[in-house]
Amino acid sequence: MSAFAPRSAAELADWLAARPGRVRLVGSGSRAARVGAPAADVHEVRLAGIATIDRLDAADQTCSVDCGLPRAELDAALQPHGLELPCPGGGTIGGLFAADPLGAAAHGGQSPRSLLLGVEGLLADGTAFRSGARVVKSVAGFDVHKLLVGSEGRLYAATRLHLRLKPRPRAEAWFCRDGLSDADALAAFARLRAEPVGPAAVQLRRDRHGCALVGRIAGRAAFVRGQLAQHGLAEAACAWTDHLAADAPGEVVAGLARFTAVAGLCAAVPAAATLLWHGGGRFEAALPDAAASDALLAAAAALGVHARVVATTHPARRDRGSPIDPGATRLAAALRTALDPHGIFV
């Protein structure tokens, strides 16, 4: 494996045009822990060096940033303008949008797909293209930029992203209720969800210590205070977790579950294992062994919940889980062939 670290999109375009062979695009490298090292003949392209904020229009609540920009740097740049990128996730901005591991932080909340206004990208042969616009609304042209979300670097390299920003709330408070039974945690969750203005972020974490409910209430100061009081919540330090520890032994199953299916998932995860469910629907479970994963996958199938193995020490078990619709599979393959006909991006 060789590594290449371009300093600009133009440099990357030239390098790709020279047809170097198969390529893995890497942001901050957080995905490597899950998918393992690439094959020996694959070049690793480290995008962290393409990392400027090209434009930050505070009045229009939009910005354009390079793919390698660390999320933390963007957050720091937005803070003085009273703005935020209101979706969870870290690493580089390009990596966050290409992997979209978390979706939204709460039901109906903002996810990377709803914040991505456009991209400047490179096809595997180095051809530069644009999709979308820099303004908050545009339906001109097909949304090739939306295909970035969840593509995991296997369709094209997005070198610049145009993003929608939101004003930071006037006040916010994190809360964490732990040591709850599954039933109590779900009941508390249901009460929060029933609010016309629910928490801005909320997650349920279940491990051998019991269930914990973590969330963020945002809005005007009186509203935030009122919601905390009404739901018997105390303000606490932020205990939000994006992912379960990547080095957990055994297997990790990830999926997408509606709220009413979460009780069933809790029941299918052994008490010693860990389940993390984000209010936007995504979940992860760290399970001790393949048998426990298979039990969870079976429960998920019965609940009509999408779930699959995303990390395992047995390569043959990776991606085991809910069948993906055959029509969607066919379309995904056709899109890969259309945009990367030689299968350069792996």
Binding site: R134, V135, V136, V144, G150, S151, P169, P196
Partner: protein, 484 residues
Amino acid sequence: MASVEKRLSDLLGARRVLTAPDALLAWECDGFTVHKARPRAVVLPESTAEVQAVVRVLHGERVPFVPRGAGTCLSGGPTAGPDAVVIDLARMKQVLRVDAEDLFAVVQPGVVNVELTAAVRHLGLHYAPDPSSQTVCTIGGNLAENSGGPHCFKYGMTQDHVLDAVVVLPDGEIARLGDAGGPRPPGVLDLLGVFCGSEGTFGIATEITVRLCRDQQAVRTLLASFASMADACRAVSAIVHKGLVPAALEILDRATIQAVEASVYRAGYPSDAAAVLLVELDGPPDVIAEEADEVRAAFAAHGALRSEEATDAAERKRLWKGRKGAFGAMGRLSTDLYVLDGVVPRSALERALDGIAAIGARHGVTITNVFHAGDGNLHPNIPFDGRDAAETARVVAAGREILQLCVDLGGSISGEHGVGAEKLDHFGMMYGAADRDVMARVRAAFDPHGRCNPGKALPSRGACAEPAKWPQMVARVLDAERPQ
């Protein structure tokens, strides 16, 4: 071998396959009346299975086809050429499932936007995207166009509210593009994201799962009038700058106000104002009470002549009546109305509106404006007489300049109405040949033979570099229709 029409009749029955020229008249255009063409036939399926069977026949016979909802599109999207069959989905109007706990509904594509909300209102829920055409337009059309509406400033476009869709692909195969739990299960490409807004060119959505929103506890609707458009735009900027996210921020200019007040959509807007700004706030009562104070302060700081607030539901309806009826009111002023749809960064609204006025003056056409100010989404309206080819050409030229202005200011040629047939010539203002080619590849992945709504949304190769041929096209259409 039986004709295509005969095979379609065998599938659906003769009454659901229309071929007589008179019967086809109702399908010869959408809301973009400049572009007219009568289709080869119209079919009226009632289920996914019927749509699939129809598409299989057409695919096998290599006949192009065009999906259609209510035909309210403003860019010629559902207008079919004489070789194409229209697949009209208006009969597929069942709400198949409502899940009030997980907050979603599954609907057929012909469900009218406002009827979905009517079906879930008793549960304290609603469907948020609200195009001004919502009493007529369908959820299928909304999905295909990624439609917006006044309340999309806070709640987002259709794309943000669609979770799943069953789609009959152009070769008759079926694909499910999402999941009731969310639009993109992990490990799957965002197929729904790219389908949404594909203007009927990627396949036919026959079952759509949408997110439902809880009704807010309280709503406050305020209206302010201003002596100049610039003041109204600055008030919008001030409101947004404070970090407020109103549910809606809408502006109507003087000519639109006057048209509304002279019509059945009369809303009591002050007819001496150069602009009115409609602001809607929703949320917990004490929260929006504070926000209303801040909005009023922004009105005052920017020289509002007057402001009022709806005190009850009837009042709110009245204030919205003028905004929702603005296109209808404008339509009364002339035989035809060209509704444009450009976007500029919100901070460039004033410059855009000055430029639009100058373009109107230069081309000798009247241009009025009603727009989603929060999103910078302009709708310049140009009333004209479509029987006058010279006037039509001037209107088209002015429209083109307006969209170029939007792009020059950093914006887009369409915020919500789509490219359709109307903006094929304008596509090159935003995109180059490489961008177009990448989009064409994506389209070909869905429709390798290019038979699903051909000639829409994406210009043919090379067109990005060509000058506009639209005025000539319009003249040709008009010539063809002129009695011999």
